[in-house]
């Protein structure tokens, strides 16, 4: 892969900016020579033709939702409606500075206020902040809220957060950044929280529990009400990771299950694109006892005007420069308005149907450690497929068939895990073809395992040497001048 540093370099790149229309001095005359850059950054001057061709070539080495099914478990890689991109790019929204006086941004404020109300309805909780900008950022905000809540009650001894062993890595990491220690709770044989193991941990040092509902095995915690009741009775709070909301949106609400904090991933459930790893948006909904602690500013409505309210003295403060990822919120709002109640229910109906349909078919070929009704995703194992064949081999062989692999080696409690989430935006035909290819790969694993070990052979690059990348880290382009 050639980088931009190996192209052009000294081409004509001028003509974007005009000549200066005010009288000019030398920069050093304004600032003094000491402040002036002594060595220019090595960013090549490249013509527009070269730049456009370089990045067009690079984009073709990628795989996106627009290329085909993207069954990454827990990532909800659903189709990203095009209209969302266009509404959020309207100049009225895009070209607004965050310090603009409220009277000139009534449109954005109204949208944020209305989206907040809709998300409160989806969560079944009384208040929402749009400030967090990613799922893990929402988790962190939730953990800050836990901290502040117990601080306000003089219960700072509550320093432990409980987590099932199937939790996403961001959960323990977020708890730790907020200053909590983490205690893992083992799952039971059915793949859900072991109530006895949970009760054994509940004492007055526990701040609460972080749950993913349904969990990362795609299994709904049938005992969810007992779990949240037990935590509440012990004086703790319940955090719900909303990564898997796609499986019950329009049918059930975290607030009715005992959630005190629930984070949305607008870039999963509400169809905004992942962008190759962000930006996302991680709105957080909270129960009544936590409302006063939400981040500032909050968007409020005063008669028919919308405003930013900073006056919440008990707030945890701010977690983002301004009001969160507003342009992402606009995409989510566009999506919600189109779907309405009917559409939201159709989302979970079809997401869950698609997953169960695939699970039933694929369990004939691949091991299914937890063989039961799933929600929007399920976890297979490549164990026992063929001697010496790993999940990584299966994943890389899928690439040869032009399909993005599922999430692999997660959750950690399943060996050789393949975590599959088809989402509702895939057709039956696509699911059939995906299953057929996985079946073909299983046959290849037995008959021609070398096809899997060597895969991918049809991708832009073959398998990359991860060990060398870690052992000999090269994070920046090695300019020739630095090599001598």
């Amino acid at each position: 892969m050639r980088t931009i540093f190996e192209r052009g370099a000294a081409e004509a790149a001028d003509g974007i900016f005009p000549a200066c229309d005010v009288p000019v001095k030398e920069a050093a005359a304004w600032l003094g020579a000491d402040l002036i850059r002594s060595k220019p950054p090595r960013i090549p001057n490249t013509s527009e033709t070269t730049v456009v061709r370089h990045y067009t070539r690079l984009c073709k080495l990628n795989y996106g939702v627009d290329d085909g099914i993207y069954p990454l478990g827990s990532c909800t890689m659903k189709y990203n409606p095009k209209v969302n991109e266009d509404t959020s790019a309207l100049p009225g929204f895009a070209d607004v500075h965050p310090a603009t006086d409220e009277r000139y941004v009534q449109g954005s404020l109204k949208l944020l206020y209305e989206l907040t109300r809709l998300l409160q309805g989806v969560a079944g909780l009384p208040a929402v902040t749009l400030q967090p900008v990613a799922g893990a950022h929402g988790e962190l905000t939730g953990m800050f809220l836990f901290r502040k809540y117990f601080e306000s009650r003089g219960e700072s001894r509550r320093t432990r957060v409980l987590l099932p062993d199937s939790a996403h890595g961001t959960n323990p990491a977020s708890a730790a950044v907020a200053g909590f220690s983490v205690t893992e709770i083992a799952s039971n044989a059915r793949g859900t929280v072991d109530l006895d193991a949970l009760r054994a941990q509940l004492d007055d040092t526990v701040a609460g529990i972080m749950l993913t509902v349904p969990n990362t095995l795609g299994i709904f915690e049938e005992d969810i009400l007992e779990v949240t009741r037990a935590v509440h009775e012990a004086g703790g709070l319940c955090y719900f990771d909303g990564a898997n909301l796609n499986s019950f949106i329009g049918r059930a609400r975290p607030g009715d299950m005992g959630a005190d904090v629930f984070h949305f991933n607008l870039h999963k459930t509400l169809s905004t694109p992942h962008g190759g790893g962000g930006p996302g948006a991680g709105a957080v909904a909270v129960s009544e006892p936590l409302v006063d602690f939400l981040p500032v500013p909050r968007v409020v409505k005063r008669r028919d005007r919308y405003a930013l309210d900073w006056d919440f003295p008990e707030s945890i403060g701010s977690v983002h420069s301004f009001f969160g990822n507003v342009l992402v919120a606009i995409k989510a709002y566009t999506y919600l308005l189109q779907l309405g109640d009917e559409g939201l229910r159709a989302v979970s109906d079809n997401a869950v149907l698609n997953a169960n349909y695939l699970q039933e078919r694929l369990k004939r070929t691949y091991a299914l450690p937890y063989d039961r009704l799933c929600k929007h995703e399920f976890v297979l194992s490549s164990e026992g497929l063929a001697k010496g064949v790993t999940t990584l081999d299966v994943a890389k062989r899928l690439i040869d068939y032009g399909i993005h692999p599922p999430t692999v080696y997660f959750p950690l409690i399943v060996h050789e895990a393949l975590m599959i989430e088809p989402t509702e935006t895939e057709s039956r035909e696509t699911l059939d073809r995906f299953a057929e290819i996985l079946e073909r790969i299983a046959a290849e694993a037995r008959e021609h395992p070398e096809l899997l070990h060597e895969a991918p052979t049809r991708a832009p690059v073959r398998r990359l040497d991860q060990t060398a990348a870690a052992r000999n880290p090269v994070f920046t382009f090695p300019f020739e001048a630095d090599l001598v």
Binding site: D14, F17, P18, G32, D34, I36, R42, I43, T46, V51, Y55, T56, C59, K60, L61, N62, V65, L72, K78, V83, T87, L90, G92, D95, H97, P98, A99, T100, S108, V133, G135, L140, G169, A173, A176, F248, G250, R251, R253, D256, G275, G277, G278, P279, V319, H320, S321, V326, V328, G340, D341, Y357, L373, A459, R463, L464, P473, V474, F475, T476
Partner: protein, 441 residues
């Protein structure tokens, strides 16, 4: 609904195949009391045509977009070359996930590698990560990282930080139990280096700072002992300014919105994070590295992941997962489009135009510049007679957008306006500002 391809006939066939009689059966594991309690939003579905109209009307209700902004403070009204938008709109880029499968993500990964290189070059540092959420969270993470390295429980912070950066740092530091100690500023607008306390893990400085003033970083590192120097910077200004890396900074962060992102009412933004190789193990966030494939061809992959949450869980250097990858891609294409030459040109345009306006305002009899330190593209003006609010009203009546004097008052500078001037402002607009201030309009 056209985002859900399956028709009723498909659903029936699928249910039959899995031995279920209805969709409801698939939800039998949710407690009935929970599903019974569900209430709809009272939101009827709408067509794309209707929704696009509704959103267009909301966008038009933002009357700000027809006005001329003199707003800055971390987010600026810069020009974005049109090619940047066209490239960033390629759905192969924006509909991809985090590049967990490098063989079909070489586009994203190569751009990440280019981005890291460009940020390291700009800031004068050895390595950069693949992005943070925004400048404020990047700064907060820098404080946590420095505290992990030096473990003194105390970090000194210049009092002339942007307020939004300061607020986020406070939240993170509170939770981590890190004490923040203020370092005041002098009449130059620069922080008072003589007032940096001892026994700190790090000192946080911003340059240009909340008053637009460029800090004197030369020699600063030497007076910190072994405390780390964290510098927050404005990457576009580094087209002409000596970067913090050249002055020995240990961590350089910044807000990358100026590199080709729309202002977007403050989000999405782009957090920049650069440091030195010796601190790699404490670096938060993702990083792409160069390696070889099985045939010996160069390729890129996410690496150094043993620092990250999906491997290290509660012992990770940060909880960050999703970052601002697409914003980083946009910034990369922006920088590639304008090149080092264009970056210098646009930085000079900002500098010259801001100085033109500041010089003319300073000559008006009722106005003065509050600080006399060197500045880049924004500065603080004080009208005599304590009427900053009224001056702002006059400018707004003239079609400009100006930040409330509260912003400066919050930093201990009452009755003052911060004005920012970018390459987009014309001489005619700046002359009009002067005329309004001078009472000629």
């Amino acid at each position: 609904m056209r985002y859900i391809p399956n028709a009723d006939a498909d659903r029936h066939a699928m249910l039959r195949q899995i031995g279920r009689s209805s969709i409801d059966e698939l939800f039998a594991d949710i407690p009935p009391s929970v599903t019974d309690a569900h209430r709809p939003l009272d939101l009827p579905p709408k067509s794309e045509l209707e929704v696009f109209g509704e959103l267009s009307r909301l966008a038009e209700a933002n009357t700000a977009s027809g006005r001329v902004p003199l707003l800055g403070g971390g987010v600026y009204d810069h020009y974005i070359p049109r090619a940047v938008h066209h490239i960033a709109s390629r759905s192969e880029f924006y509909t991809a996930y985090t590049p967990y499968q490098p063989e079909i993500s070489q586009g994203t990964l190569t751009v990440m590698f280019e981005f890291q290189t460009m940020i390291a070059e700009l800031t004068g540092m050895e390595i950069a990560n693949a992005s943070m959420y925004d400048g404020a969270t990047a700064l907060a993470e820098a404080v946590l990282m420095a505290e992990r390295i030096r473990k003194r429980g105390r970090v000194a912070v210049a009092a002339n930080l942007f307020s939004h950066d300061r607020r986020v740092v406070e939240t993170y530091a509170w939770a981590a139990g890190v004490e923040l100690v203020d370092v005041p500023f002098t009449p130059t607008g620069r922080c008072d280096l003589a007032r940096i306390p001892e026994d700190i893990s790090a000192f946080v400085v911003q340059s240009p700072n909340a008053f637009g003033v460029i800090e004197a970083l030369d020699g600063l590192k030497a007076c910190l002992g072994d405390a780390l120097l964290i510098a927050a910077t404005y990457p576009l200004a580094l087209g002409i300014l000596e970067p913090p890396g050249a002055f020995g900074a240990d961590i350089v962060v910044g807000e990358g919105q100026c590199l080709g992102l729309p202002m977007g009412y403050g989000g999405p933004l782009l957090g920049l994070f650069a440091t030195r190789k010796e601190h790699l193990r404490q670096l938060p966030g993702r990083v792409a590295g160069r390696t070889m494939d099985a045939d010996g061809r160069i390729g890129y992959t996410m690496t150094a992941q043993t620092r990250e949450q999906h491997i290290r869980r509660e012992k990770a250097t940060s909880n960050i997962c999703t970052n601002a990858a697409h914003c980083a891609l946009t910034a990369t294409v922006y920088l590639a489009s304008i090149g080092a030459g264009g970056l210098r040109q646009v930085a000079l345009l900002n500098l010259e135009k801001a100085h033109y306006l500041a010089t003319r305002i300073a000559k008006l009899k009722d106005y003065s510049l509050v600080f006399d330190g060197p500045f880049f593209n924004e500065f603080v003006v004080r009208p005599s007679g304590g009427n900053a609010d009224a001056v702002r009203e006059r400018l707004e009546a003239g079609g400009f957008l100006v930040e409330s004097p509260r912003a400066m008052a919050d930093l201990g500078v009452p009755n003052a306006l911060r004005l920012a001037v970018t390459e987009r402002r014309t001489q005619a607009e700046l002359d009009r500002v002067v005329d309004i201030l001078g009472g000629k309009r």
